[in-house]
Every structure is written in C-alpha cells, then in structure tokens.
C-alpha cells in the first residue's frame, strides 16, 4: 500500500482538528447563553403596613390551628404567630381586632386561565391555547395574559393572592405557565411572582387525541399521545446534550459552535434541568402512572397532576413518586375521563404519608371560593369516615399549592419569614357563608370588603353603565 495518502489524510485531519475542535489556545467567541428570564418581573408590593392581628382563629397552613392567636406582619413578612403578641418595639403598627374572625395564608390556585380566557369571553381575547400543533412548548401563557380581566378582582375578593396561569389542554405540550401575584397591574410583568419557577403544561387523554385526531394527525389515540411525549423528550435530551457539550467545551477553553436555538426545546430542556416544573392535565389513574414512567425514562420529575379525577385509585403510588395532585372537589361527567369522580378524592390522596393534595379551580367562578371547594371535600370525607379538620383542609389551597408551584419557601403558610400573604375571613372559611374581609399580599392590603378604596376595578369595567 502506498503510504502517502495516509500521511496526507493525517495532515488533513490535523488541519480540520485545528479548525473545528477549538484548540485551547484559540481565541473564544463570546459565550452563548440562553436568557432564562427575558420577561422579568417588575412587581412591587403595594404600600405595606406593619400590622398586628389579634385574637383570631389562625390556620397556619402548616397543619396547625391556633385559637385566640395573634399574627404580626412587619415589612411585608410574617414576623410572629402566637398568643398575646406585643408589637411595642415595632414602628407604625396597625392593630386589627380579629375577634371572631379567622386568619389563613393567602389562597393559591395552581390552575387558572384568568387573563388568557378572560371575561368578557370574546374571540379577540381568547388566547389560552395555541391549538396549531400537538407540541407548542415554545409558547408562554404570560404572553397572552390580559391583566384587565375583571376575574382577577373577583378572585382577589375570594382571598386568592397567588395563581398559576396555564395554557389550555388541547396539546400534548401546551406551553409554559406563569405564576402571578394577584395584584392589579396594567402589565403582566407587574404581577409576575419573582423567582417562581416556570411551569410546563402537558395534557393526557381525551383532549389532544380529539383535537388532532379530527385533523387526521398524530395523536388520535392515547398511544399516539405517549409516542408524542416520548419523541419530544428524546429530542429534548439530544438538545440538552448538545448544549451541555457546548458548555463543557467552552469551559475547557475551546471555541465551540453553539447549538441552534429552539424555543420549543428550550422549555423541555428546562424541565430536564429541573428548572421548569411539569403541570400535567391528567384525569385517569392508568395514564398518570404511564406519565410517571415516561418521566423516569427521560429523567425528569413528573410534577403535579391536574384534574386527577382518578387519583384516589393510585394514592399510594402518587405519594411514593412525589407527585402533587390538583383536584376539583366534585366536578364530573363532562367527559369519559371525568366519569369516575368520588367526592372524597382529595381526602383519599391526602391520607397517604408524604402526599401533596391540592384543590384547584380551573374556573373563573370557583376560584372565587376555593375555601368552599376545599370545605366540600372536608365535610363529605368526614361524612364517610375521615376525621379531617379545618387545619388539614387549608393546606389543600395554600401550602400544598405553593409546593406544587415551587414557591413554598416564600408563601403558602403563616410562618415567620414567609411573605405576608394572608386573608382575614368573617368566620370559618369552610362555611358557605364565609367571605374574605381583607386580603394582604406582601403585607400590603389589596382588598377590603368594607372599604371601596381597596376594591380595584378593571379598565374594562370602568365607565360601563
């Protein structure tokens, strides 16, 4: 054999190595990084007031009930919760006599479409679901939020201080959800919960297969759904590998070419990196368990199951796998996957150790009374052998919801150091006659039932006769 070609090829190889493999001594281009927060929050707390609530029935959200208790909020944070607190060393403290009233953490809804499916329900504002492809991980619900939706005000009057706005459920991957503080603002960014992780909406079952099956495209079956999820995660895994390699090579002093940006895969990669939390519309027991396995296959956390009508059938598995489940107390029958409702669903899920049961609304109407939605579960379960208390039920709409959204270090409970997001109720919040009297976000009063000054009005409703 002639040796020359070998030599030549070696030279070629050496040259190409110098061109593409980024020798350590080569000058590096500016590092390409993906901005994780291109639409940063501009939220600022409304005027805060140091406040001492005295003599209330306090549900802490951490499982405790304190009677005749006081709560002190200072500089927008919960300072103390206890009996006979004094605030003499705190400047400018307002005292609110909460005798006969109840105090709870601000209510958190993990599943809302306020702003993206607003009132009035007009085509021009129907921006909740990009139903043009089974995978629209590239869309972000926050870009559809109309902050003038009057539903935000009604929800606030019901004690809702934090809510996740999700895209709809027509797609396997519906896009990113955003967590908002329920304060009036004329921009989405003005409501955005600082440092709350993004959510990724996924959907199981009937909706994706119906919407795309009608168009004679994948998915038209549940197995088509699963093929769609897996194909996307496989692609995302490669995307992540490409970025990891780029980062590694760059760190090694090489000058690699950055992978081509893909907005859809950015979101999926965020999940694989543990930065974006899954919020999966999934009703049925067998489908939730399949979703858990897909997450294990691709090494991410399967997150929170929403609308888990059949969660009671797999309560143990859900807790073992570390899933939160967000449920209605009693909606049912609107489709096959909602046929097996039981009124004790939330209670059965909740009864397992390490569980994370949540009551959600998915409704501009019931978001106004999540306390009563939780109350219905409490009482129906107790009618049938459970021994639940108010201090248990409050967790389903506060701390567990905060956990699902990845913000339980900031809100969802009345514990020292947490954001002073709280609701003063006219009595037991689990009564049909319960009404939020005052609502606070970060220690600022955002709603007062008896003072119009604290009753915000949407631009849309202004001047209407």
């Amino acid at each position: 054999m002639n040796k020359t070609p070998i030599k030549l090829s070696l030279i070629v190889a050496a040259v190409s190595l110098s061109l593409t493999a980024c020798l350590p001594n080569e000058k590096q281009d500016v590092k390409v990084t993906i901005k994780k927060n291109p639409f940063p929050s501009t939220y600022q707390a409304l005027p805060q007031q140091n406040t001492l609530f005295t003599n209330a029935t306090v549900l802490t959200g951490t499982g405790e009930r304190l009677d005749h208790a006081d709560v002190l909020i200072v500089d927008g944070k919960i300072s103390q919760v206890g009996i006979d607190l004094t605030a003499t060393n705190i400047a400018n403290v307002t005292t609110i006599d909460a005798q006969g009233k109840w105090l709870t953490p601000g209510i958190i809804d993990v599943h809302s479409h306020l702003g993206v499916y607003p009132s009035p329900n007009v085509e021009s504002h129907s921006d909740g679901n990009e139903m043009t492809s089974p995978n629209t991980s590239e869309v972000w619900a926050e870009h559809s939020v109309w902050p003038q939706d009057p539903g935000f005000q009604s929800a606030r009057a019901g004690g809702v201080t934090t809510l996740q706005i999700l895209p709809g459920s027509a797609n396997l991957f519906g896009g990113r959800g955003v967590t908002l503080k329920n304060v009036p603002s004329h921009t989405m960014q003005g409501m955005k919960f600082i440092d709350a992780p993004y959510g990724l909406k996924m959907a199981c079952g009937e909706n994706p297969k119906r919407v795309y099956g009608k168009r004679k495209q994948l998915p038209s079956t549940r197995m088509g759904n699963v093929a769609g999820y897996r194909a996307a995660w496989a692609e995302a895994t490669e995307y992540k590998r490409a970025w990891n390699k780029y980062d590694r090579d760059y760190a090694a002093g090489k000058n690699p070419q950055a992978p081509t940006r893909d907005l859809e895969l950015d979101t999926l990669m965020g999940v694989l990196d543990g930065e974006i939390l899954i919020h999966n519309h999934c009703y049925k027991a067998e489908e939730m368990v399949v979703m858990m396995d897909i997450a294990k296959e691709f090494n991410y956390q399967s997150g929170t199951f929403h609308h888990g009508i059949e969660a009671y059938k797999i309560a143990d598995t859900l807790a073992e796998n570390g899933n939160c489940v967000a449920m209605w107390p009693d909606w049912w029958g609107f489709k096959m996957e909602a046929f097996d409702m039981v009124e004790e669903n939330v209670a059965i899920v909740n009864a397992v150790k390490n569980s994370c049961a949540i009551v959600h609304s998915d409704s501009a109407i019931t978001i106004q009374r999540l306390n009563q939605e939780a109350g219905k579960v409490l009482y129906r379960a107790n009618d049938n052998g459970f021994k639940l208390k108010a201090e248990d039920a409050i967790k389903w709409i506060t701390v567990n919801a905060a956990k699902s959204l990845g913000i339980d270090d900031k809100t969802g409970s009345l514990a020292a150091g947490k954001n002073a997001d709280l609701v003063l109720w006219n009595g037991n919040p689990f009564s049909v006659y319960a009404k939020a009297e005052q609502v606070f976000v970060d220690g600022a009063k955002v709603y007062d039932r008896f003072d119009e000054k604290y009753q915000a009005k949407s631009d849309f409703m202004l001047g209407q006769e």
Binding site: D330, I348, I365, Y433
Partner: protein, 449 residues
C-alpha cells in the same frame, strides 16, 4: 336508618281521643285506612322537626308532618300536635330541619350522561322546534339522578337545548325517584333563546317572536269570526270558505302561549332585550319568565311591576359578555328586594345540580333573605311550573328532606328524604367507587363490589 323507629304500640293507640278537632278528623282518617286491609300505603309521621313550610305557616318548631299515600296529609305545629298519632311509622327528627324537596330547573338531567359522549346526549337536535318533546328521551336510571339526590333535589324542570330554530323546544318536569314513572308533566313551558348572536342581529329573533304572536293572534281572530259566521248561517255549513281548519302543531303551541296556558321561558341577559320581552308580555298577555337575566338588576322595578319571575344563577357574577356587564353575586338579593319572584337555577349543567343548596347559601351570604332563598328552590318553582310540590302543606306531594343541619351549609347533609312519600336513598355510583378504593383487600379492586 337509626332515626326511624316503628311505632309498635300502633294497635293500642287506635281509637284514642285527641285534643283538637282537626286532629281528630285526620287521625280517624288514618285509622280508617289502617283497618281497611294490608294493601294501603304506609303512613309516616315526622315528629319534633323544625319545619320550613315555605307556606303560610312559616317556620314551625317541634312540628309534626304526616305523610300518606304520597301526600302530606297533616302539618301540626307544636301546640296543635295531638298526643297520640296513629301512623305506621314515626320518625323523630330531634329538632332537625325538614324542608320541601328542592326543585332544580333549566338543565338537562336525564338527557345527558356524559357531556362529551354524543351517544349519551339527547338534549338537543338540529331540527328541534317549538314542539320538541325531549321527555321521550328521559332516562330515570341515569347515574346523575341518585348523585343529585345528595343535594336534597326531589324534582327538576328539564330544559332541552333545541337546535337551529328560534324555539329550543319545551321543558318537562320530573321527580328524582329514579323510577320509570318519574315524569310529572310533559311540555310544560316553551323555551326561546334571545340576545347576542354570533352571526346576524339580535333584532331578528325579537322581531320573529313578535310576528309569531301577531300572526297567531290574527289567525285566531279569523278563526273566531269564521266560527261565528258558521254558527250564524247554518245553511252555509258546508261552504268551503267557512271551514275551520285545525291549527298545525307548532301553531297550537303558540296559541297555548297566547292563552297563558304555559309559560314562555326566555333566555336573555341584556336589559334592552329583557325590556323588549316585557313589552311582548304586555302586548300579547303571555306568561313570561326570564332566564339568565344578568342585567335584570337595571330594570328590577319594571320586572317586578310586570310580575315576571326570573330564573337565574346566584354565582354567575362575571361580565362574560357585553350583555352581562352587571352580573353580580348580589343580583338575586337586589331582584328579590324589588319584589321579583326569583328562582335559583344551576350555573352549569346537570351533573352537579346537587350544589344548588350551596348556591342558595352564597345568595344568602350576599344579601338574599333566607326565606326568599328557600322559596327560590321550592315554592317559586312550583308556582311557575304548576307543580303540586315545593311547600309543606296539606295535600302537597310528600317530597321532603330531613337535613342534618342548615340545608345551605357545606357541612350539612341529607339525613332522610322522601319523593312522593317514599323514602329514597342518596347512595350513588360515587359511593360505590369510594368504598371499593378505601377498603382493604388482598385481591384486585375489581373483586370488591
């Protein structure tokens, strides 16, 4: 049912004297039934109850209600309760609240099992017209019925969706016994949808409705004059001109509306539409009922003056359209205060009709007097749809609910209930599923039945 205790001293009590005259008459009647043989219906006395009569007697403490053969045969206040009551069964209510069974309305109970499953839907039809009688499709074995009994609902006005026609068909009344005899009355009101349109103008439907009545009225007048001519001139009996034709089926329904024989239930929200309907009532004398009516509060006095009842949800408080900018949690209270007869209807479909009692509680929390809230679920519905229920009074159907506490409160449940005097259960498929998944077994759940 531990609250029930059979009166085993029944025979001993026969023939005993009683303190009041009316009691004497009634109890003698009961005794008569008892001795006439074994086939007669069981009589039941519910004693020591807090009775919300929703009738002239108001709320009675420690009262007694006697039911027999499907009817309420006696209502005794505490003072008038005889010492001995001759009945087959006595139930000590122990002070708990007894109300008339609640009456749902404006939903598709028994016509839809699973909303998204086409073959379980019978609430509408493209070709449905004013004559559409959906009662033929009613399924008393629907799983929704037992579930909705949990809300103390004993009867319901079922309203189909209709189709492309101006009229959505007619309502029918059912009880929630789950029996094949559930239908109380067919075709008892006519449905029309007005207001905002996706295509075209709302004016056309209002105009079409006006023309329907105008034309029918004209035809009736013509028919009348022909009839008179015919009667006058008996010789011309066979003359073709004077032949009085039988009106068509749809014309008969319009005629029934003009005669006030059945109500027209008009869905509309914007105040201008509601006023147009009030004008039609005035013009043609129809028995008008408004449904939805989000902005009715703007013209509450006009509605009250026209004596038009309003069927609405207490929780539909969002401005979901430009027709509903005045939707509010306080609307029901505002209307009632103005003197409007209000009926509480569910906001959604029929699967969670049982929540009507909570909606009533929410209305009360937002200013509706409790008595009005009870009427809105009972007597007012009965009045509009001419049902022999909705009140606890002698002669009314024995549709009754004994509650563990305040019927509107979330923590309260139905302890006992009767439909047409027969005790009915609130156990549903949901309970069976719960029991299956909460009991311990080393076998697959499918073996737990």
């Amino acid at each position: 049912m531990k609250q029930m205790q059979l009166n085993d001293q029944l025979d001993d009590q026969l023939g005993k004297r009683h303190i009041t005259l009316s009691a004497l008459v009634k109890v003698s009647a009961v005794a008569l039934f008892l001795v006439t043989g074994a086939v007669q219906a069981k009589s039941t006395a519910i004693t020591n109850a807090t009775v919300y009569t929703v009738a002239s007697m108001g709320v009675l403490e420690q009262a007694t209600v006697i039911i027999e053969q499907g009817k309420i045969i006696e209502v005794y206040s505490k003072q008038n309760t005889p010492q001995d009551i001759k009945v087959d069964e006595i139930i000590d209510a122990k002070g708990r609240i007894l109300t008339p069974g609640f009456i749902g309305s404006m939903n598709t109970l028994g016509l839809v099992e699973v909303s998204a499953v086409a073959k379980t839907r019978d609430g509408g039809d493209k070709k449905a017209k004013i004559t559409f009688d959906a009662s033929l499709a009613f399924n008393p074995k629907s799983t929704l019925i037992a579930y909705n009994r949990k809300g103390g609902i004993t009867s319901n006005i079922v309203a189909p969706h209709g189709g492309e026609d101006l009229f959505a068909g007619q309502t029918f009344a059912v009880d929630l016994s789950g029996e094949f005899t559930s239908i109380i009355e067919k075709q008892n009101a006519v449905l029309v949808h007005l207001g905002a349109e996706n295509k075209g103008s709302r004016a056309r439907n209002l105009q079409a409705l006006d023309h329907k009545f105008a034309d029918a009225k004209k035809a009736l007048a013509k028919k009348k004059s022909k009839q008179e001519a015919k009667n006058k001139d008996k010789k011309d009996k066979d003359k073709k001109d004077n032949e009085v034709k039988e009106p068509k089926r749809d014309e008969q329904v319009i005629n029934a509306l003009l005669a006030g024989e059945k109500p027209l239930l008009a869905y509309a929200d914007r105040a201008s539409d509601l006023l147009a309907l009030l004008a039609l009532k005035k013009k043609y004398g129809i028995d008008l009922v408004l449904v939805g009516a989000s902005d009715a509060v703007l013209i509450a006095n006009e509605i009250a003056d026209a004596k038009v009842p309003v069927i609405l949800s207490s929780i539909a408080n969002l401005p979901t359209s430009f027709d509903s900018l005045h939707a509010s949690l306080t609307n029901m209270a505002t209307l009632a205060k103005a003197g409007v007869k209000v009926i509480l209807a569910p906001k959604g479909g029929s699967h969670n009709l049982n929540q009507l009692r909570f909606d009533a509680g929410i209305a009360v929390a937002n200013g509706l007097p409790r008595a009005d809230a009870f009427s809105a679920l009972t007597a007012n519905v009965a009045d509009v749809f001419k049902l022999n229920s909705g009140r606890i009074a002698v002669g009314k159907n024995a549709d009754l609910v004994l509650w563990s506490a305040d019927p509107f409160e979330l923590s309260t449940k139905v302890d006992l209930m009767w439909i047409n005097g027969k005790a009915v259960s609130t156990r549903s498929r949901q309970d069976a599923l719960r029991d299956r998944y909460t009991q311990k077994s080393n076998m697959p759940r499918a073996y737990s039945k």
